[in-house]
């Protein structure tokens, strides 16, 4: 029964992933015949060199970027929800994404460049930016841990996360006021969210870091399940709660920071996808939840990417799409919270 449901769900999510990836390959702002796309992907090339460049250097990297970003943000959300025992936690709502964004902004200014102009091909500079994002996310996570020890209320922690977001965005605006006009423009467009920002040369770093962190999260299923019972029970089951929490938040910080640095602060995916996974599997058991969350996250992000490129009048920002998918799901969950098992 529940195991069957798990297998069926994983197969469905995987099929959906393949379909969405193919759709993202075929559809886009430039119409390319399917036959040519197949030839290009198979390595036979195409008569139209521009098509080759679009498929190999734009569409395929975008598919990989979106799928990995969706998986990364969703796992971040899952780990935050379990760690803080809070079903409405997520990397954007708790301010982790904005912390990473602030880190990015500060590094760019410190490097003497204009604010924005993000992630050039220079390995040193984008590593510095990644590090900045990581520091920013890390600082916010430390603040959250400190406050979670003082304020026991889940709602209060969410409000603190929102306050952190306001604070970081005001600091970013202050930085903007001393940045060049071009820098401000770049920063604003980065804030819209975008899966086309990872080039072929940056892909190994981006994909490598995310995949390692995702594997790390899959190795934490045992303590994650113990944490479902609260810290006292987890301790009684032999879990070192403080160390476990630090590892989980480190993984969350890395995943959120990498995605935010490369794709901008993307909202809602991290909050919503763990719920989609729980509802479709009917369980909070992390050994099943982690794989399903990774796949469902990749699916949702590819869906957003597909919508964003299918507009004939230009690309729609990702952050204009995620709330349209995310808000109805969150409202459904809030309204039905008494019926949904995992709240009680």
């Amino acid at each position: 029964m529940t195991y069957r449901r798990y297998v069926v769900t994983l197969i469905a999510l995987t099929l959906l992933l393949v379909l969405l990836a193919l759709a993202c390959l075929v559809f886009g702002s430039v119409d390319i015949p399917v036959g040519d796309i197949v030839d290009i992907v198979m390595g036979k090339g195409s008569v139209n060199k521009a098509w080759e460049i679009i498929v190999l250097q734009s569409r395929i990297p975008m598919i990989a970027t979106a799928a990995l970003a969706g998986a990364a943000l969703s796992i971040s959300g899952l780990l935050l929800q379990t760690t803080f025992n809070n079903p409405l936690a997520g990397p954007s709502i708790l301010g982790v994404s904005s912390g990473a964004g602030l880190g990015v902004a500060i590094v760019i200014l410190a490097l003497g460049g204009s604010l924005g102009g993000l992630l050039g091909e220079n390995v040193g500079s984008y590593m510095a930016i990644l590090l900045g994002a990581l520091m920013g996310a890390g600082v916010v996570l430390v603040v959250l841990i400190a406050f979670s020890a003082i304020v026991r209320s889940n709602t209060m922690l969410l409000i603190i996360g929102i306050l952190v977001s306001y604070l970081t965005s005001s600091v970013v605006q202050l930085l903007n006021s001393v940045a060049t006009e071009e820098g401000v423009h770049n920063y604003v467009s980065w804030g819209f969210g975008n899966f086309s920002g990872v080039s072929v040369t940056q892909m190994p770093v981006y994909a490598g870091v995310i995949i390692v962190a995702l594997i790390g999260s899959a190795l934490m299923v045992k303590p994650l399940n113990a944490l479902l019972l609260g810290t006292r029970y987890a301790q009684n089951l032999g879990i070192n709660v403080a160390r476990t929490r630090n590892i989980l938040l480190l993984i969350t910080g890395i995943l959120t920071a990498v995605v935010t640095a490369f794709c901008g602060p993307i909202g809602f995916i991290g909050l919503v996808v763990p719920h989609i996974a729980r509802m479709s599997l009917g369980t909070s058991n992390h050994s099943r939840l982690v794989p399903a969350t990774i796949l469902a996250g990749a699916d949702i992000a590819l869906l957003c990417a597909l919508v964003s490129v299918c507009n004939p009048h230009g690309i729609i920002p990702i952050n204009a799409i995620t709330p349209i998918i995310g808000v109805p799901i969150i409202l459904y969950i809030i309204i039905n919270r008494r019926r949904i098992q995992y709240f009680t």
Binding site: G230, Q235, G238, T344
Partner: protein, 261 residues
């Protein structure tokens, strides 16, 4: 062999809490002995220090003074893993496990015995099944925890502690939210676990009359912060029951084994 071998002893134990820079000592000089095969009830009025004492015994808080010895070893010297194999806990903490099945919840009790990823083998599954049967919750094995009544949930949590296979089980107010029928059922279950399975079971309770009837031994925290131990008969004969509450208008009635006013 003595079936009531001491398994848990405290030596000059002091417990309390830290409030800012100050330390508030609630109970001191405790020399308590918990024996295998016995059901012990810890009684005392609110704020007397029941939960604080239990938190020290489960090593959730370090003792302010003195030591706790489990199976001949100092509790604080043991690793968390070793402790998790000696003491099973049932507390009133809110759990977020509504979307686990009872089997999955009870399976979490195997964590101290499983490997890095927590995979269960056939032996684990048999222990889980047996624990659910012993706790009388096997009929709900495939149900969601969220669908259980309060009494059933408590049985599931007790089954989880059984699956942990610890010689000692400590329960913080296990009957607090239960109706009378479930309370009696839970107490009977704990009594069986002590008498038939040889577990040392320690529980805190507000339910004086049931504790007096079913526990093998009582630990009373008196209003002057002493802990008096003994059987119901001994303590009732001593008049110790009248040292439990500050309110002078209630007194213990030896005939009905309960308080009246």
């Amino acid at each position: 062999m003595n079936p009531h071998k001491p398994i848990f002893t405290t030596h000059d134990l002091a417990v309390g809490y830290r409030k800012g820079k100050n330390t508030v000592t609630l109970l001191r000089g405790l020399n308590l002995v918990l024996e295998k095969g016995k059901l012990v009830a810890l009684l005392g009025q609110n704020g007397a220090g029941k939960s604080t004492l239990l938190r020290a015994l489960t090593s959730d808080e370090p003792p302010l003074n003195g030591s706790i010895e489990v199976d001949g070893k100092n509790l604080m010297d043991l690793s968390q893993k070793d402790r998790s194999r000696l003491i099973g806990l049932v507390s009133t903490e809110r759990i977020q496990a509504g979307a686990l099945t009872v089997t999955e919840l009870v399976g979490l009790g195997r964590q101290p015995h499983t490997g890095f990823l927590g995979r269960l083998d056939d032996e684990d599954r048999e222990i889980i099944r047996q624990s659910m049967a012993d706790a009388g919750i096997i009929g709900k094995a495939d149900d969601y925890v969220a669908s259980l009544s309060d009494g059933e949930r408590q049985k599931a949590m007790i089954a989880r502690a059984l699956a942990q296979q610890t010689p000692i089980i400590i329960l913080d107010e296990p009957t607090a939210f239960l109706d009378v029928a479930s309370r009696i059922e839970t107490m009977r279950l704990l009594q069986t676990l002590a008498h038939d399975r040889g577990k040392a079971v320690l529980l805190s309770s507000h339910d004086i009359s049931q504790s007096l009837m079913l526990a093998d031994e009582l630990w009373l925290i008196t209003t002057d912060r002493q802990v008096i131990t003994g059987t119901t008969t001994e303590l009732v004969a001593d008049g110790a029951m009248n040292r439990l509450f500050t309110n002078k208008s209630i007194h213990f009635n030896n005939q009905i084994l309960d308080y009246s006013f």
